[in-house]
Symmetry: C2
Subunit: 419 residues, 2 copies
């Protein structure tokens, strides 16, 4: 792969982004004034892309552009630009059902691989807020609602075979980001990739022990197979707390460039894992006079709030909006109500089991793999950080090796407290 | 949907097929002589397409062309022509690994939705041979080998993410035939479709009982969901004994127009179900002095031969040719050999469980749904046929409701004898 970019592509900067937006009448009208009146600031703190926030006299927008390499790794790790295409395709696919739980989508510029969307302000990244011990009373319910709506509508319960086939055919091509997930989430962390890192020497023994655990490795590989094959719905693909922006009252899910047809539990498990990791990390952020006990408890309590919202909303959608080809209404009559109800429970129990396992996989990769979480990384002292990371890793191993112990979201809460 | 066909399409007849082939130098050379020297006969006994066998002085070919409607139902059930595209795409995808277990593929004519391939002679349809109590010593092994090779190579064990994505993106568009399977295999038989039929009045009670069995219906729906979502490999999609042509020594799998990314167990279960149905039907074909006991035993014994071949070959391929992104070799070292072996056993056990369930679904649809099997249909006397069909249906219900009783292929054999 090379860094040669397609004709018409250039990477935007704080000047050229003005000219680009000036060429889009609708955006220009939204911002008001002249390009020279606009303030532009590049804020991309992420791993992969450029992000510009643009303010005009009348309004604001956010421009996100794909770069031809992994920003966090530098030009040595090239990456196709088309992920911007999949990001906007995901927004378009779920827009009819998720409402204002995502940023409003304004424009996609194919040649530049650039998305123009609502600028979220004064939102901050949820993970940052949680690290600062802030509370967001709606966030778990909102993300639960988002997950239920987005996955139901794009599954064989909410979409026809023909509708789902469009997404299947489109998102099958999101191979570069699928490969990244397969490698950095499933393959690398328990293997020997040079991209791996961990708090060393403190966790050297733990890393060695995990990598020598053949049973754990094959279980992770079982779930890797499931991840690659189980096309239940269009999933976000990277639904951690860094992909959610919040205020006290508003929640937006963003950054869906990893979207694929995949297992619903992968999204659910990602969000749960990141709440649990934040909970485990809280003591590392404690200061004299602020033990962070209550903040930690609050975060952990969001796990059942999230799961219960997701599962009850998903079930309600199934009961009222079934319009796909799975469990077709034509097969069932009033006499089948109880059996169908039991089938819905089985179905949601399986998603829960999947979510627990994927939460395990997603946690291990944040401790032993390439991309770590600010929840732990912001704990400067490795002697404080390492034992907390070890707790998270041990809990993750329980998720994977003792699935029978996790039947409800409360079981996750209890195990996270006990670890 | 209408019967208006795309420009350039016309349905071939015994005359126009000559002109068509005359325009293909390679085929012309293969046949030898002039079009007037060729004999052409239309033999399509199938449900969906025209099939011409063409013999020239030097050689022969078979031409299969899609019609814009379901042949068996008439013009009232229109069907897109593109299924011919998917049929040839499947042959091309598996050609590198299945060798002469499929007819040699010569040419695809996009405008006519016509495939030109090897004419199989003196092959007959396996189902017909089995109904005539003939034995084919290689067939179960050959179809087992075929299933293992074709599914392994197109799964995440044998193909990279990028290779599989090509198939996923292409075959996702095979929606018309996917819809047929979803409806006639999963939705209709236990529902109230006017397309359903059964041996009446003999099986009226059984049909009523099955359709009132809420638990059975939701289990079938569970497997319908799995069928629609579980993109494990490129599967044939209709691997019954009518999709296999045989001589005493040669086996060819054909008619893969239902190909999709789907669960491997769907192919495996289809073949098993059709062997079992033939076994159960054998007494219906008995004549004075020919009880058909040995013929029946022989057919049933092919179930373990098929499964054991499939599973041992699949495992051997995994051990020697793993080149996909699932269970990536980079994750495992010599110390993991035993655990990986256990993972392979788990994996194949899951495919077996899937196959048993899909065998159940596929059997029920042949007794209560739209398309029946010659194995039963050729039993002219309904009073003889009905009790045998009832046996098959009851066994199918066991497959679906008592999965724990079916751990090995021998369990299937025992249950089929006991029913
Ligand atoms: N619509 C928006 N409004 C305001 N700020 C935004 C918006 N989109 C992104 N940002 C800011 O830009 C940052 C990076 O955005 P995003 O996470 O989408 O990019 P990324 O390069 O894909 O990062 P990641 O490494 O998380 O994948 C966010 O953390 C946020 O601070
Ligand atoms: N390559 C071939 N060589 C010889 N005969 C063939 C060949 N292909 C098909 N036939 C004959 O044509 C018949 C119909 O073929 P095929 O099953 O492919 O068509 P179809 O319309 O898809 O039928 P089905 O209802 O089984 O789906 C076969 O049963 C067989 O007798």
């Amino acid at each position: 792969m090379s860094l040669v970019t397609p004709p018409g592509y250039y990477s935007l900067n704080e000047e050229s982004v003005r000219a680009f937006l000036d060429g889009l009448p609708e955006i220009q009208a939204r911002l008001g004034g002249k390009p020279a009146d606009w303030t532009v600031v590049e804020v991309g703190d992420g791993n992969l892309n450029l992000v510009f926030l643009v303010d005009g006299p009348d309004g604001s927008v956010c421009v996100k552009q794909a770069l031809p390499y992994v920003r966090a790794a530098g030009e040595s790790w090239p990456l196709p630009l088309d992920r911007a295409f999949f990001e906007q395709a995901y927004y378009r696919a779920v827009a009819p059902v998720v409402g204002a739980l995502v940023p409003a989508f304004y424009h996609y510029e194919p040649a530049l691989y650039a998305i123009v969307m609502e600028k979220l302000a004064p939102h901050i990244i949820l993970r940052r807020g949680l690290i600062e011990a802030r509370r967001y009373p709606n966030v778990a319910r909102d993300v639960g609602e988002f997950t239920a709506q987005a996955t139901f509508a794009t599954s064989d319960l909410g979409a026809t075979i023909e509708e789902k086939a469009e997404w299947a055919s489109t998102f099958a091509k999101n191979t570069s980001l699928l490969r990244i997930t397969a490698e950095v989430v499933f393959t690398d962390p328990l293997g020997t990739s040079p991209r791996n890192r961990w708090t060393s020497p403190h966790l050297d023994d733990l890393a060695r022990e995990f990598r020598a655990d053949s049973a754990l490795k094959t279980i992770v590989a079982d779930w890797g197979w499931r991840f690659l094959t189980d096309g239940q719905a269009l999933i976000h693909g990277d639904l951690h707390t860094g992909s959610v922006m919040v205020t006290e009252t508003d929640t937006r899910v963003m950054d869906p460039e990893f979207a694929i047809l995949g297992p619903i539990g992968f999204d659910v498990g990602a969000f749960i894992a990141n709440l649990v990791m934040n909970f485990i990390a809280q003591p590392g952020h404690a200061k004299a006079g602020d033990e962070r006990r209550e903040a930690a408890d609050w975060v952990l309590d969001q796990v059942p709030v999230y799961w219960n919202t997701f599962s009850s909303r998903f079930r309600a959608l199934w009961e009222t909006k079934a319009s796909g080809d799975a469990y077709p209404p034509a097969m069932f009559g009033p006499a089948d109500a109880a059996a169908l109800d039991a089938a819905r429970t089985r179905f949601l129990d399986r998603i829960f089991a999947d979510a627990v396992a994927y939460a395990g996989v997603k946690t291990i990769r944040r401790i032993l793999g390439f991309a770590h979480n600010a929840d732990f990384e912001r704990i400067a002292d490795p002697a404080t950080r390492a034992p907390l990371e070890a707790k998270a890793a041990r809990l993750a191993r329980q998720f994977l090796l003792e699935p029978g112990s996790f039947r409800t979201a409360e079981d996750i809460v209890a195990a996270a407290r006990a670890v």
